[in-house]
Structures are given as C-alpha cells and as structure tokens.
C-alpha cells in the first residue's frame, strides 16, 4: 500500500457530537480528520474555546488522528447569509478575524494547516476590486502567524480553478506558508484537466486534499463510484508527487447516514489505493502480475457494473484490465496465455475483456483464447469473449456462432461489440432459422433477435 493518510471531514458528521464523530472516524480505520470549526463543533467564538481546544487535541492524540482545520461553515459568522462575510465583502473584517482565530486554534490543536476559500464575488464588485481585496485579505490573514494556510478553489467562487489559486499565490510573492487545498471532485466538476493532472500541477504546494466524486459541470459531492472521478489514478498521482498531507473525504450533505457513508468511503479508498499500488508494482516488475491478478477480487471488490455484469463486466474485471494495461505490449503478450490458463472464471473473464490491449503480432494468441471461451458454458466468459477484440479479429464464421450462442445461453447482445458493423446476411439467416425453430416448438423467441435484425436493417 502507498503511504497516503486517509481522513474524514467532520462536516459530514454534522448531526453527531464532535467526540462521537471522532471516535467513529477512528474506529472505522481513518487516521485523520478535517475539522470544520462550527457552532456545534469546536465553536471558535465560545468563551472557553481554549479549554475545548486542549480537550479536542487530547482526544485526537488518544485516537491517533491527524487534523487539518476547515473554515467553510455556512452560518458561523452571519446567521442569515450563508458563508458571509467573505474576504471579498465590503466589510471583510469578521472573516479575517475568524481565519486568524482558526490559525490560533490550529496551532493549539497541532493541526497541519488551515483551509479556506475566496468566497463568491458580490455582484456589485468588479473583478479588479475583488482581486485586490483578496490579495489584501490573504496578506492580512498570513501576517504574524506561523500557521500554514491552504487556499481551496471552490466552484462558483471568485477563485474556482487551481490556476487562479496558484496565480494569487505568485502575486503575493509565493509565501512559504501558503499552499493549496485541492478537492478532487471539484476537478471533475469545473477544472479543464482531470484530478490526477491537477494534483501534479499543484505538486509541492499541495497542503490539503479533499476526496469525493462528482460529475462534469455539477457541483454536487458524491460518494465514490457515483460520479466520473478516476479515484485510482488520482491516488496514484498523489503518491507520485510524494504528497504527505491528509486526504480526507468531503461529503457535507451525507450527515444523515454518516457512519455507513464513512465505512463505504474507506473501503473504496483502500481498494483504489491497493490497485494504484498494484499498477506501480506491475509496471516495475511485470512478473508480479501473476500473483496480483488473482488477488484483485479480494482487494478491490467484485460487484457487477450492470444487472448481471454481462454487458459492462464487474468491478474486478475493470481492475484486472487496468493491471493488464500497466504491462508493456510485449510483456502483456507473454503473460496473457498463462493468466488465462491458471485463471479461475473471474480471472479468465478479465483476460478476455483486456485482449484489445494485445499488440497486433499477438492477435493469434487472443483469437485462441476467445475460441476457448466460446466453447465454455459459463455465460460470463461468453459475454466477455465478444468484446472489441473479437469484433476486430474473429473470423466471420466463429463470430456469427458466438453471437448465436449468446441468444442460446441468455447473454444480452448488448455485450457483443461491433454488432452493427459485423452483422451480415448469413447471421440474419441463422437467427431467422433459430426464431422459426423456436416458434415451431411453441417457445418464446428471444427479443434480442429483433435487435440483431434492426442492426442489419440499419446497415
């Protein structure tokens, strides 16, 4: 496994007492926490905040949790207006005061940094003024404090892209105590590059990382797997840049089911981290795929990606294909026959789903494996055999019989790659005869026959 440290954001435990939230986060196996200072979680404006901070610090140490301080509370400064005032407001004083308080609390907690954002630009303020206010505000916050601050690009805020955050830092003269908070879900939503690329761009300046999934253009924090984030590639990039800070899950709208969501989150992180590590290992030593390939189901999960996993396969199929893709083409061609020979059903399925990665000169090997799979009665193998590799390399006779077998054994023809391009008169005749035979026997005719006939008609 990599040396990444995974944490969870307390803003995802808004309905828990802070002590209970910390205990659950530690019990689940996280090693850190992103602590959002809020009215019910270490209120920075409480009279006894110093005493509370000492207590929380002792608790964190007892539980073995690292900590970063987050300052994104919604109604902490103004009970009427979310997130107000900001560093861009006419009166930014309360925000600056709050961030300086947060710095003192961070120091007393032994926190690794204080994370903050620019805020939304008020409609009546022009860009130049807003930028000026932001520069002045950040400079004021950084003055006379040893605390490390991390600016987070936030969708919809004045600073919403990594590039703007880096430019702001440059214009301030590149103070050492100022770095970046990167929310990898935000990268999916609004950045021009994927999260792994953003991680590399931020490099050494990455002080703090927030983890969640998202869809392009939609700022909605999702659990892993519900959006478009390539979590494995993102964690691989974090390991590659030598990131040593906390990487904490940020799901502020999942408090209603926090313990379950947190449990699922860590499982997904460990699976992705294992896979990223396995990819690195295989790249460095191709023979290691022989023992990592079989272990995938146990380490990375097995659930189906559609109703029966026949069309898009399963989580372990996908993970195994990534390991195949980590091999150089000549190593792949050398390893594939034995991975198939010694594979159990799941491993063979994944080999079949990865055959399109073979170099052209090894196509013969791939064809042999596809032919073997099409002789099997395991429908998972039959479905996996008729992917893009078969569409490109299988001879017409074998391919047609493979499609017919799908109809026989109940593999949806949606699993057949390139159906529209390869369907021909002979296949139409074969499925027509099959339909006639079924009707003559008074039996149902599979509806997928119509799909094949429609593809033929569309040619």
């Amino acid at each position: 496994m990599s040396t990444l440290r995974f944490g969870y954001g307390t803003n995802g435990f808004a309905n828990h007492r802070l002590d209970d939230a910390l205990a659950i986060i530690a019990d689940l196996g996280y090693t850190g926490v992103a602590l959002t200072l809020d009215h019910n979680h270490l209120d920075p404006f409480a009279g006894d905040v110093a005493e509370q901070t000492r207590r929380v610090r002792a608790r964190l140490e007892q539980l073995g949790l690292g900590v970063v301080v987050e300052t994104g509370a919604r109604f902490l400064l103004d009970p009427w207006r979310k997130h107000q005032p900001t560093l861009l407001s006419d009166e930014a004083g309360p925000r600056i005061d709050f961030l300086r308080r947060a710095a003192r609390i961070a120091a007393d907690l032994g926190a690794e940094c204080v994370s903050f954002w620019s805020g939304v630009k008020p409609a009546e303020v022009d860009d130049t003024t807003a930028w000026r206010r932001l520069l002045d505000g950040v400079a004021a916050v950084l003055e006379d404090t040893p605390a490390r601050f991390a600016l987070e690009p936030e969708p919809g805020h004045f600073v919403q892209h990594l590039a703007e955050a880096l430019r702001l830092r440059d214009e301030l003269g590149g103070p050492e105590q100022l770095g970046i908070t990167l929310d990898v879900g935000h990268c999916v939503a609004v950045e021009p590059f994927d999260a792994a690329t953003c991680v590399r761009q931020a490099g050494d300046l990455l002080f703090n990382v927030q983890l969640d999934d998202m869809r392009t253009g939609v700022h909605e924090h999702l659990e892993f797997g519900e959006g478009e984030l390539d979590l494995t590639a993102t964690l691989a990039a974090l390991a590659e840049v030598g990131y040593r800070g906390l990487a904490a899950i940020e799901l502020p709208r999942h408090s209603h089911a926090a313990p379950d969501v947190a449990r699922r989150g860590l499982r997904a992180l460990r699976a992705a981290d294992w896979l990223a590590d396995a990819e690195r290992t295989v790249r460095a030593d191709p023979a290691r795929i022989r023992t990592l390939f079989p272990a995938v189901g146990r380490k990375a999960g097995r659930s189906a990606l559609d109703a029966h996993g026949l069309v898009h396969g399963t989580v372990d199929d996908k993970a195994r294909v990534r390991l195949l893709a980590a091999l150089k083409p000549e190593d792949l061609a050398a390893e594939v026959p034995d991975l198939y020979r010694y594979g159990d059903g799941a491993e063979r399925r994944a080999v079949l789903r990865g055959l399109h990665l073979l170099p052209p000169e090894a196509a013969g090997t791939g064809v042999r494996l596809v032919e073997d799979a099409l002789r099997a009665n395991d429908i998972g193998l039959v479905a996996a055999a008729l992917g893009p590799f078969a569409a490109e390399h299988l001879d017409a006779h074998t391919w047609r019989h493979g499609v017919l077998k799908c109809l026989f054994v109940g593999v949806p023809v949606a699993a057949v790659a390139g159906l529209g391009d390869r369907v021909d008169d002979e296949l139409v005749r074969m499925v027509g005869d099959y339909a006639a035979e079924r009707r003559a026997a008074g039996r149902d005719v599979p509806s997928d026959i119509d799909v094949i006939l429609q593809e033929a008609g569309a040619q």
Partner: protein, 287 residues
C-alpha cells in the same frame, strides 16, 4: 451445533455426505490439497486438481449450503517425485486466489531431504503471501517427525500462531502446545484419534488453539466425526460454548488470518439448477 470442518477432502466424497454434513450443522470447511491415492505423474495433474478445488468443488459444496475453502501446496509424499516438484513454481499463482486460506498440506511423510526442501520452501511462500500453514505430521515415526517439524517451522521465522500442526495424538500434543502453534486432531473411525480420547485431551489442554477435523477422504473415514466430537464433549461436561469454540470459532480465527474466508450464509441448502461452467450437480431433467 454449527460446525467448521478445518480439514476434509470433499473431492473424494459423495453428495450424500454433503447432505448429512449440512444436517449435522456443517456450514463451512477447508479442503487441503493432498495426494490422490493414485500417484500423480505431472504438474498438469496438480493444476487440474487445484482448479477443481477452487472451482467445481466449491460450487458443489455451495449447492448443499456449505462454504468451501481450500489450501494449496505440494504434499509431502509427492515432494519426493521429481516429476511433481516443478509444481512449486506454479503455486504462487494459486496462493492469492479467492477462497485459498492457507498453504498446505506440507510437512514430512518419510523424513527425506526432498520433503524437507519442499517443506521449507513452502513455509517461505506462506510468509511471502501472508497465509497460515497447515502442516501434516507423519504416520510413521510420529514423535521424531513432529519434533523435526517444529524445528523447521521455527527456522522459517513464520509466527507460530499462523501454523497448525495436524494429526496429533497424546504423545505429540504437548510439544506443539509448547511451541505456540495451533493443534490439529483428525478424528477417525479406527486410527489416529477418536472422539473420546479427543475429549480427554481437551480436558487436559483446554480449548484454545485446538482444531478438530474429520480428515475424511477416500479411505475409511467419517465426515461426521466433528459432530460426534461435539456430542462427546457435551457428554463429557463441556458447555455448548466450549463446543462452539472448538468446532467453529477456532477454525474461523485460524483461517481468518488469511483474510480470505467467505462465511456469509448461502441461500440454498438443497441443490438448485445453478451451474458451474454449465454443469449442475443435478442428474436427470432440470426444472
């Protein structure tokens, strides 16, 4: 009574056995890789057997409501045959597969140099692939064999709590208890150990690190000997909880060290029309 048989060769048993085992409370088992009675003559014979352990036999057991796991190894007897020893190079491919919960059976048969070499090599594989080890002790010259076995285990550096030394009796149990390894007992109708002697050993040594198995195979053996030992324990004054410790919690704890046990209950306890690679355990028309 819920039972986990930590050592039974189901490949050589019938579906009647599976049904009787389920009725007696067996819900999980481990089938160690061993020899076949008829000597193997090639590596291919091993790999087909291993494929059966992780494939067809697991499916067959599941059809009777029983979770099937296995251990993988070159057994001591065939470690002496140069036609078989190349299987050592293939073992790592199997050790990380789903449901493989230990390296085994390894150890001595006739105390030869070839046996020792294969034994030591496979202990290192267990360390490398983070698996427990199931060690067979010889039928002949058992006491000397057990002593040497424990020396080789110690030299390998593997943690003793990750090793079970099997087929013990009154003469050998003390050595293994002292070494900190798990103690395995194969309860047979006529040889090795019977359930009443087993109860006496449990009374003397306690239930910790104790594993009781039927080791049933194609010889005269009884797959319900685990159940009968449980009954004998109750008759001998042990509590239901003691029985559960020996027959369920202990094997779960020992093999659980592999991180590879699959113990979620199965839905069906009688065969369905389900198939493994297209073959079912039903004979005659499928419904």
């Amino acid at each position: 009574m819920r039972i986990f048989d930590p050592h039974i060769h189901m490949t050589s048993r019938t579906t009647d056995d599976y049904e009787a085992m389920y009725a007696a409370g067996v819900r999980a088992l481990v089938e160690p890789a061993f020899w076949l009675g008829q000597p193997r003559t090639s590596v291919g014979s091993f790999t087909d057997y291993f494929d059966g352990l992780i494939g067809w036999e697991r499916f067959r057991a599941s059809q009777f409501g029983i979770r099937h796991h296995c251990t993988i190894a070159l057994n001591p007897k065939e470690a002496n045959d140069p036609r078989c020893t190349d299987v050592l190079d293939v073992l790592p491919r199997y050790l990380t597969k789903d449901g493989v919960v230990a390296v085994g059976e390894v150890g001595y048969d006739s105390m030869t140099e070839a046996e020792e070499k294969a034994f030591a090599h496979q202990l290192q594989l267990a360390v490398e692939y983070e698996l427990p080890v199931l060690v067979h002790t010889p039928h002949r010259d058992k006491l000397a064999g057990t002593k040497r076995t424990l020396e080789v285990v110690r030299e390998s550096g593997i943690a003793p709590e990750r090793v079970v030394v099997d087929h013990l009796n009154e003469v050998t149990v003390g050595l293994v208890a002292e070494a900190g390894c798990w103690m395995g007992f194969s309860i047979y109708p006529h040889t090795k150990m019977d359930e009443h002697r087993m109860v006496a050993i449990l009374a003397e040594y306690g239930t910790a690190r104790m594993l009781v198995n039927s080791a049933a195979d194609w010889g005269r053996s009884d797959p319900l000997k685990t159940y009968r030992t449980g009954q004998a324990m109750l008759a001998g004054g042990f509590t239901e909880s003691d029985v559960d410790t020996v027959l369920w919690r202990n094997p779960v704890e020992f093999y659980g060290q592999s991180g590879n046990l699959m113990l979620d209950p199965l839905e069906e306890s009688s065969p369905t029309g389900a198939t493994f690679e297209g073959n079912s355990v039903l004979r005659g028309a499928r419904q």
